[in-house]
């Protein structure tokens, strides 16, 4: 692929609002190259040989942590995972000290998942290595947003004017929703959110989205439906009365899916609650791109590590 004028070398990836459309395009273009590597028989290149990546996860995560780990390993980096249960965090070490400790071991990138909004920005302020936000509270999950864009593009749709996007469910606590709202509205698409009003933030219209209580209104004519995971503790906290009512009123089933465009993409950041926010049938239908998302997640994360740690200078090493 052609060398780009834009460089993400040394950049922290905290959210999509701090990336330009051109930078996002570069990441997606690079991810396409990465996906080719993933499909090789020997899927390992030396681009990041001698680089070390630390996955610092303060929250349980399977797909994000694993895909960052594989992304680093496919590119030849040394990847170490730290999870809260096995670190000094349980002994009461503050985030600043944990970050400085990790930095002292001369790592090149810190991939961080944290339950508190802004934690990645805090880490980036403290740390010299590249910080990649793998999710901070209800704020942002940039690699998820990028893999969603990649998946949509790969399916032949370009997020932009004329496209109707629907995001369903727990908008209030969702970093995926906030990430995609930022990216999709900026690219000019029409973004609709729907769900019980107790799960939709007050003043969300300020982000340029249309709010619906009836999900049918959001789904109608949609090009993309992003179904968010309903955390079961939200029901326990009383934000909606029962999972039964949620599934009946706000769950995505085949009947409701039929309101969307024929070639609609159904996305879900996973893990799915089958029978709650998404029905069994919809999760496995031809419109569901949920497993593509997972695969593309590895490619996008390879692209992020490659671009931030090499500045994109060594494309030749990819061959």
């Amino acid at each position: 692929m052609a060398k780009s004028d834009i460089s993400l070398g040394g950049r922290d990836i905290l959210d999509l609002s701090s990336l330009s459309n051109e930078e996002i395009a570069l990441i997606l273009q690079t991810a396409a190259e990465m996906k080719k590597i993933m499909k090789r028989d020997i899927k390992k290149v030396p681009s990041l040989r001698g680089k070390s990546v630390i996955n610092l996860f303060y929250e349980p995560s399977t797909r994000t942590r694993t895909s960052f780990e594989l992304a680093g390993k496919y590119l030849g980096a040394d990847v170490v995972n730290i999870t809260t249960s096995s670190s000094s965090v349980v002994k009461g070490e503050c985030l600043r000290d944990t970050i400085l400790t990790v930095q002292s071991m001369n790592c090149d990138a810190i991939v961080m998942r944290h339950p508190i909004e802004g934690a990645a920005a805090y880490a980036a302020k403290v740390a010299k290595p590249v910080v990649i936000n793998a999710g901070d509270g209800a704020h942002a999950h940039p690699s998820q947003g990028l893999l969603d864009l990649y998946t949509i593009k790969e399916a032949g749709k370009n997020v932009g004017p004329g496209l109707k996007m629907a995001i369903l469910g727990d908008i209030l606590y969702s970093r995926v929703a906030r990430t995609n709202i930022v990216a999709w509205t900026r690219l000019g698409a029409e973004v609709h959110v729907a769900g019980p009003m107790t799960l939709i933030p007050h003043d969300i219209e300020a982000l340029g989205v249309k709010v619906h209580s009836r999900i049918e209104d959001a789904i109608e004519g949609a090009d993309v439906i992003d179904v968010l995971r309903i955390q079961l503790e939200r029901q326990k906290k009383g934000l909606f009365p029962t999972t039964r009512e949620y599934a009946r009123v706000w769950g995505l089933n085949e009947k409701r899916l039929a309101l969307a465009k024929k070639d609609v993409l159904v996305l879900h950041p996973g893990p799915m609650n089958r029978g709650l926010e998404i029905s069994w049938e919809v999760g496995y239908c031809d419109n569901a791109y949920i497993r593509d998302q997972v695969q593309n997640g590895v490619a996008v994360r390879m692209a992020l590590l490659f671009l931030t740690l090499t500045g994109g200078k060594h494309f030749e090493n990819l061959d």
């Binding site: 802004g118 209800a138 704020h139 933030p201 982000l207």
Partner: protein, 431 residues
Amino acid sequence: MRTLIKNGRVVDPAQKLDAVLDILIEDGRIKKVAPAIDAAADTVYDATGLVVCPGLVDIHTHLREPGLEAKEDIISGTMAAAAGGVTTVACMPNTKPVIDTSIIVSGIKERAAKEAYAHVEVIGAISKGEKGEELSEMVDMAQKGAMAFSDDGHYVKSTRLFLLAARYIAPFGKALICHDIDPELDAEGYMHEGAVSARIGVPGVPAIAEDICVARDCIISEYTGAHVHIAHVASKGAVDIIRQAKKKGINVTCEVAVQHLTLTDEACATYDSAARVNPPLRSFDHVEALREAVLDGTVDAIVTDHAPHAPEEKDMEFRYAPNGFCGLETSLGVMLTDLYHTGIFDLATIIDKMSCSPAKLFGLDAGTLREGAAADLTVIDLDKEWTVDPEKFYTRGKATPYAGKVCRGKAVATVLSGRFVMRDGVVCTNK
């Protein structure tokens, strides 16, 4: 001992005074205020080109003593006051132990009288341990000089207990200072609920969490006649309720904090934990409503809610950081920069709300330069440019959302009972 302050622009809203005059101080009291006083003095201070006003009175601070000295103590807190031109501070009772008995009130007052760099007024707790369950010995504390009562940091959730407190204290003429935020709603969030919280994902608390509680406390004030003073009002709904209550003649007063007049929730957009405070920084429509309420007299006092924390407590993730930041060393400079030099408030309004009015409200021996009054003075250079540098603070709490702010206007000398406690930004420690 006599001190003569020459040629200053004397601004004392308590007597509607604004003129170039001399002030003669003798034995800690104002002896004479007149043009060109010709008298021998031990100290003569040339205040040409400077404003001389009654020492600032801040009725809402946290000095953290006893028990929380890692955050602040009476000495560091009052040094910060002197540095900021504040001569009287009232300290809140959320200490360890809570200030809920007269012995603690007396202890603080005695230590302050001996060692502090400002007068310290003590606010006792309404309920034992600020737990909101049983009344504390408010009358005993009042007799030992407590200025008022508050469970600051907590809303008195039990309506029954607050009604009892109001009935009990009303005949003694002491105010109940109310921290009015619905605790259940408050527990759900960490900042103002609005466009910024929706964008950055930090759970928000709606402003009505404040309004709802203010309404109850106004109703209880009306029913009992007790003086209810609403602390740190920060919402447009709350000031509206207080305005209506005042119109009805209810014995309600209120204060607003400097930060709620000068900052919005955009200060939280970078997740700077220094901007975490309760009530939270709100959107600009609330800021405008509060400014209007200062101008129309709904607001009686401007305070700091000086709430220092140790760096290891405050320097962390936004949600984990405690509420509050220091304010004594920035309050005047910020007010002058953002509200005086911008033409929103005149100087008399600022001095009135930061000195005369709160002093009068709580019957303090402060807040005026009348002959015979306590010789507590603040000398202000309205045009002095300076940058807020927390490393230079006297307070132990270094976190402030104003760090790096370029200010215009600053206290350049502070006189406490006739003695200079600060000159040119340096606290005079040779006592």
